[in-house]
């Protein structure tokens, strides 16, 4: 399906990442956002609040993030494509509802413009320290998808992708920006609507009476119905059967939770997006994502200028972790170097996937600024030895 042209601001723009993310959401068909102000994410909903009444939709500023993170889910069941936007402290408050979205299979997008933590931390300065929280922050076993843009252009393009993945897998998608990407201004090209692919909701075509909210048809993802259409369905965060009815027995729990996990895990290779350079002859691979990938790029160029055999793997999908790719690489490379704006998060995934076949070097940074390319270079040199 092509994008609804009313939401698409076709043209060449000069936008920061936050504003580009908002345009991506509108292009993807999002017509509802609920939010609570928090730096450095607020510009996304500020723009949405100004833009959405001119394309037909709603923004509501809620009383807190506990509300914002479920108001959008009510809107989804009312038929809208919807998202919410926050940063660390608000993201922490949203965790229960990420679990609710995962359990009820509510397609929606949570944008987290990461800043330094813990707690109030560094409100105006960058970090990438919510990566594990995005994956594991709510209780229980579940899977989500997380994307990491590294430029305003990608904030536009990947926000559309985030909504599309949310619809395809009926899963909450975490859009993991950071303060620098959110606030840097660059050229953003917004294509015509007929060049933007939008995934429609998996709406049921079953007649009333035949529809079961959580019946899957072989492909692991059930069809959805909206309130007010006559289906009279029931949705609960309790463990439920195909009818959506609570059924709190170990076999039903096992079937449901495994499906919620496997619908994403089994599709991990299809969901995985990454950018690679010079991997054929690499002995050392720098694995990075988000803003850090741009600093890493510089470090890689410096290393290659010194004739060091370094390649680049930039993660665009952080979750599900693209472990097949790391496993393949670890069969022939010597080491991975993983710079990130935290004291070690995704590096553990790299290490796990490498399974001892290649060494893993972290390049930690507590946040507040980006790395110096030299600091990454130093570790590359060490890893090449």
């Amino acid at each position: 399906m092509k994008a609804d042209p009313r939401g698409v601001l076709t043209g060449v723009h000069f936008l920061d990442g936050d504003h580009a993310c908002c345009e991506g959401a509108l292009a993807a068909g999002a017509r509802f956002a609920s939010g609570y102000p928090i730096t450095p994410s607020t510009e996304i909903v500020e723009r949405f609040a100004a833009r959405v009444p001119t394309v037909g939709g709603t923004f509501i500023q809620m009383e807190d993030e506990l509300a914002a993170s479920i108001t959008l889910q009510g809107a989804v069941w009312g038929g809208a494509k919807a998202f919410t936007v926050t940063s660390g402290p608000g993201f922490s408050l949203m965790m229960e509802h990420i679990g609710y979205a995962a359990m009820t299979e509510t397609p929606c997008v949570f944008v987290d413009v990461q800043r330094g933590g813990p707690s109030t931390g560094l409100p105006t300065l960058p970090a990438q320290a919510d990566m594990m929280q995005a994956r594991w922050g709510s209780h229980g076993d579940y899977e989500i998808i997380a994307l990491c843009p590294n430029s305003p252009q990608e904030c536009f393009d990947l926000t559309i992708k985030a909504f599309n993945l949310a619809e395809e897998y009926r899963v909450p998608v975490m859009f993991m920006m950071d303060e620098v990407v959110g606030h840097m201004t660059e050229k953003v090209v917004i294509p015509p609507a007929d060049q933007i692919e939008v995934v429609p909701r998996r709406h049921t075509r079953k007649p009333l009476g035949e529809y079961l909210p959580y019946q899957t048809n072989g492909d692991m993802v059930p069809e959805i119905a909206h309130a007010g259409e006559g289906y009279k369905f029931h949705i609960t965060g309790l463990t439920h059967d195909e009818r959506g009815y609570p059924n709190m027995t170990p076999p039903v729990q096992d079937k449901l939770v495994r499906r919620l996990q496997n619908k994403i895990r089994n599709a991990a290779d299809r969901i995985a997006l990454y950018e690679e350079e010079n991997l054929q002859d690499a002995e050392v691979v720098v694995v990075s994502y988000g803003i850090t990938s741009r600093v890493a790029q510089r470090a890689i160029e410096m290393a290659r200028a010194k004739k060091l055999p370094v390649g680049k793997l930039r993660l665009i999908t952080a979750w599900p972790f693209p472990e097949t790719k790391i496993r393949e690489l670890s069969a022939y490379v010597k080491a991975f170097v993983v710079p990130e704006l935290n004291l070690g998060q995704m590096v553990h995934e790299v290490e796990r996937a490498a399974a001892g076949k290649a060494r893993t070097f972290a390049v930690p940074h507590a946040g507040g600024s980006v790395h110096h390319p030299e600091d990454i270079l130093k570790v590359i040199v060490e890893a090449c030895r």
Partner: protein, 286 residues
Amino acid sequence: MSDFTNPVEPFLRTDRMPHIWCPGCGIGTTVNCFARALIESKIDLESLALVSGIGCTGRVAGYVKLDSFHTTHGRAIPFATGLKLANPKLNVVVYSGDGDLSAIGGNHLIHAARRNIDLKVICVNNLIYAMTGGQTAPTTPSHAITSTSPYGTCEPAFNLPHLVEAAGAVYVARWTTFHVRQLARSIAEAFNKKGFSFIEVISPCPTLYQRRNKLGDGLDTMKYYKEKSKVKHGAPTSEVGLTMTGEIIVGKFVDRDRPDYQTMVRAQLTESLGDRFVEQAEMVCS
């Protein structure tokens, strides 16, 4: 359908019976009144959605044959807000417990009333957190014994009608589970009202509240409701606070008109944006 079918049966998910509620519990009575209100108001059931939080009362969502959402503890109102805003044609009812709506969800309660979101809130007030075993709630009357106040509470209890009136609700009523006709009528009346409506139903939890406080069983509580309730329509809500064994003021306390949230938003955007304002179309994105 035989002549002996209970008239409320078509409103229930009979395939989910028996329900989990204890004998003598008041929640089932309120559901009966709700169903009767639906019959009385001839409301279109296909455009009616019901949202609950978590608790014994929160289970109502699972028993009504409507589009029904059992959400998270305290968050029924914000979920319902999103549902209503995305599809304004829906009639959205929030059906939940006193703890859910006024403690963990208290912030949402006052802000929804302030915004005057068009929601019908039915609050079953059993004066306790029942689902989790009878702990103190913000509605528990002073001195009552609960599992977490074994020597009696010392906190003053919330007067919910007063709270929601102050916050901006356009319709506020209170009944007990003894007042089945009046309750059904109030619910039907709220359906004809645009804006934030709040109906409190004082309801027994014989298993936990009445037993611990030696207030007898379900029947004794009905007697108490009958004898100690006083109907005072339009009573100042500041004067309807509850005590453990005292008078229960019931009735319709507030019935006033002010534009609901969506009407205000539309007016504001039309004024500010003129031709550029695009009325929210059907959002349904299938």
